[in-house]
């Protein structure tokens, strides 16, 4: 069974000048880190929102571990953990309070929440700051706390929308190391980023999307090898998506 199976997705937003998705299809095998790469407005976030059940597609299907993202959105949300682009936490609450609140909403017992939260906070270097309000955190700390909140219920699929945007080198290294460890536990990760070097470093496979359509897919090395005059993933990306600036 595929971890993610997206088929012929179409999505038009009211008032938008172009479709966000125009027949996009892709899949992800379980236990891998899959990169979903594309320029601004390519359809990455819309795809993620459809996978999370936050947005309904106009046409096409999206499945996670066999569960339909529209019809079985409850089951899907149990399977996934999502760290959105925004820091999806309550700024006026401390990290501990945020994690307790989120954990309880997932139906976890306080004991389990404490155990998991402590382990994750320690692994991502936030244990000493667990009693501080999120608003007082730096950008990197917020990103790490955001990832912890999405992992509390131990999801089989972790979806990360630009998890390292705007963070310093140390935080980025910590996050990437953690993602590799998480994959070692047999979990699947779907990851979007504009940082091609980072994607090349951690992704087992990469799907490139542009203008709402599938462009290409493969391991970073395959893509580099099979694309003429390309020495790194960024060259491949520019080869397929062009050099013109996107709005």
């Amino acid at each position: 069974m595929l971890a993610i199976e997206v088929s012929d997705l179409h999505k038009n937003y009211k008032g938008a000048w172009a479709p966000a998705l125009a027949g996009f299809s892709f899949s992800v095998t379980p236990g891998r880190i899959a990169g979903l790469l594309g320029p601004n407005g390519a359809g990455k976030t819309t795809t993620i929102n459809i996978l999370c059940g936050l947005v309904s597609p106009d046409k096409g299907t999206a499945k996670i571990f066999g569960f339909d993202c529209v019809k079985d959105s409850g089951a899907v949300r149990h399977k996934i953990g999502v760290a959105p682009q925004q820091v999806a936490l309550f700024g006026n609450l401390t990290a501990t309070e945020n994690l307790t609140y989120v954990g309880r909403l997932y139906g976890l017992k306080d004991e389990a929440i404490n155990k998991r939260a402590t382990a994750l906070l320690e692994r991502l270097g936030l244990l000493a700051h667990a009693g501080k309000r999120i608003n007082a955190y730096s950008g990197g700390m917020k990103r790490r706390a955001n990832i912890i909140a999405s992992l509390l219920h131990e999801p089989d699929l972790l979806i990360l929308d630009e998890p390292t945007a705007g963070v310093d080198v140390q935080s980025r290294a910590l996050i990437l190391d953690f993602l590799k460890e998480y994959k070692q536990q047999g979990k699947t990760i779907l990851y979007t980023s504009h940082l091609m070097e980072e994607a090349q470093q951690i992704c087992d496979e990469v799907t490139i999307i542009d203008e709402g359509k599938f462009i290409t897919k493969g391991t970073p090395n395959e893509l580099i090898r099979n694309t003429p005059d390309c020495k790194k993933l960024e060259d491949v990306f520019l080869h397929y998506t062009g050099h013109s600036v996107r709005d």
Partner: protein, 420 residues
């Protein structure tokens, strides 16, 4: 213009609405009560010629709309008191039995007196002079003292004029010479004041109830309700902030969480509103007397304030929830929320009692949840109404809350599926 309709609403339509509403609401207090037309429930226990003349006089006066029958049945004293107690009418007049006989007797005494002064033997039958008889005037217990005084004064004027007319007519028919009777008898004016107007309480507790018609009794619940509805500011602000900072997305991503978080917010804020209202009542009961003002009177069934407060809090909370859902930015939601509460309070009788608003505005008041909130509290505190009496306004508040909540859920779903 299409790009920021909400901004346009705030800039143009909201102030225009505020100006129109406030002008309409404030119009009544700037007018003399005597220049307005009021519905008056009238029970005639006399059924004599004098009472008929009085009723005709009141009908022709132009300032009152006299209702002396309902469903083709004459209004009785019991009907009158019951309808006023319920608040269906604001003013009631009872013409007591014997008023025709009394005024005829007064006229005969006056005529005989004039005849005697003219050297003619008294010839009209008379009984003992009973002194002044009163046309009783009753008010809805919620009516304010200024309103009562103004209406009593206006009625007194019309009734005295009508009685004088009746007496003069009788005297001129008796005095064949048609001489100026008023100038000939020092006591004539006294005798002619055969009928006066006297305000009466609706029941035996009425005198005590009259004591409760004061500024504390209106202002404490009215402004406490106004304060409760200002919960729209924190609710709408927090909801939009949660959407902006992403924490709303976190909740949306947790399976089934919105089923708990939405109702949880409503329950929490409803309880906060209720607590706020109870604290304001405590201010009315214990702090106001320290300021040499009357203490707030809670009525005979103060326990009913609990469901009343919860329903008011629920209506206020869901209004805030609705504002927080339909507006995209805090800059749109907060001014709209606060100005709309001011407008709803103005048309709902918080600033100026609804009974002195123009008829159109009295009908408009029915759409304001603040009107039903104040009505509920007045029923409990001033009309001593029981559970049955508050059931309708409480049900209306709950209905408006459920409707707004439902609209919010629909709007939220629609936005999630149409906005990138």
């Amino acid at each position: 213009m299409k790009r920021d309709i909400a901004g346009l609403l705030l800039l143009l339509i909201m102030p225009a609405t505020l100006i129109i509403i406030m002008a309409l609401v404030q119009d009544a207090p700037f007018k003399d009560f005597q220049s307005m037309k009021f519905d008056i429930l009238l029970a005639d226990a006399d059924h004599g010629s004098t009472s008929h003349q009085l009723i005709d006089g009141l009908k022709n006066a132009g300032s009152f709309h006299i209702i002396d029958s309902i469903d083709n049945k004459p209004v009785t004293e019991a009907d009158l008191k019951q309808l006023l107690q319920k608040g269906d009418y604001k003013i009631g007049i009872l013409i007591p039995s014997g008023i025709t006989a009394n005024i005829a007797n007064s006229a005969n005494i006056a005529a005989n007196s004039i005849a005697k002064k003219m050297g003619v033997d008294a010839m009209l039958p008379t009984g003992p002079l009973h002194g002044q008889m009163f046309v009783h005037i009753f008010f809805d217990p919620v009516s304010k003292p200024a309103f009562r005084a103004a209406i009593s004064s206006a009625l007194d004027k019309y009734i005295t004029a009508a009685c004088s007319g009746i007496l003069m007519e009788r005297l001129s028919s008796l005095n064949k010479n048609g001489s100026d009777t008023s100038a000939q008898n020092d006591n004539l004016s006294k005798i002619m004041q055969g009928i006066g107007v006297k305000e009466e309480p609706l029941d035996s507790r009425g005198d005590n109830m009259m004591l409760h018609i004061n500024s504390v009794q209106h202002n404490v619940p009215a402004w406490a309700i106004f304060g409760i509805f200002f919960i729209v500011i924190p609710i709408a602000g927090n909801m939009i902030r949660e959407r902006e900072d992403g924490s709303a997305i976190r909740i949306a991503l947790i399976p089934g969480a919105n089923q708990f978080v939405g109702p949880g917010k409503i329950i929490f804020y409803t309880l906060i509103c209720s607590l706020q209202f109870m604290l304001m009542l405590c201010v009315g009961i214990w702090i106001m007397p320290l300021l040499h003002l009357p203490a707030l009177h809670l009525g005979l069934h103060p326990w009913l304030l609990l469901p009343a407060t919860l329903s008011i809090g629920f209506a206020a909370t869901t209004y805030g929830y609705f504002i927080g859902t339909i507006f995209k930015t805090i800059n749109q939601a907060l001014p709209f929320g606060s100005v709309s509460v001011v407008i709803l309070s103005a048309i709902g009788g918080i600033w100026v009692p609804v009974e002195i608003l123009p008829h159109t505005m009295q009908r408009v008041a029915l759409v304001s949840p603040l009107h039903w909130s104040l009505e509920t509290v007045n029923i409990i505190m001033l009309r001593d109404g029981g559970l049955q009496a508050v059931a309708i306004p409480v049900a209306l508040l709950l209905f408006s809350g459920i409707t707004l909540w439902g609209c919010s859920i629909i709007a939220e779903k629609k936005r999630n599926h149409s906005v990138q």
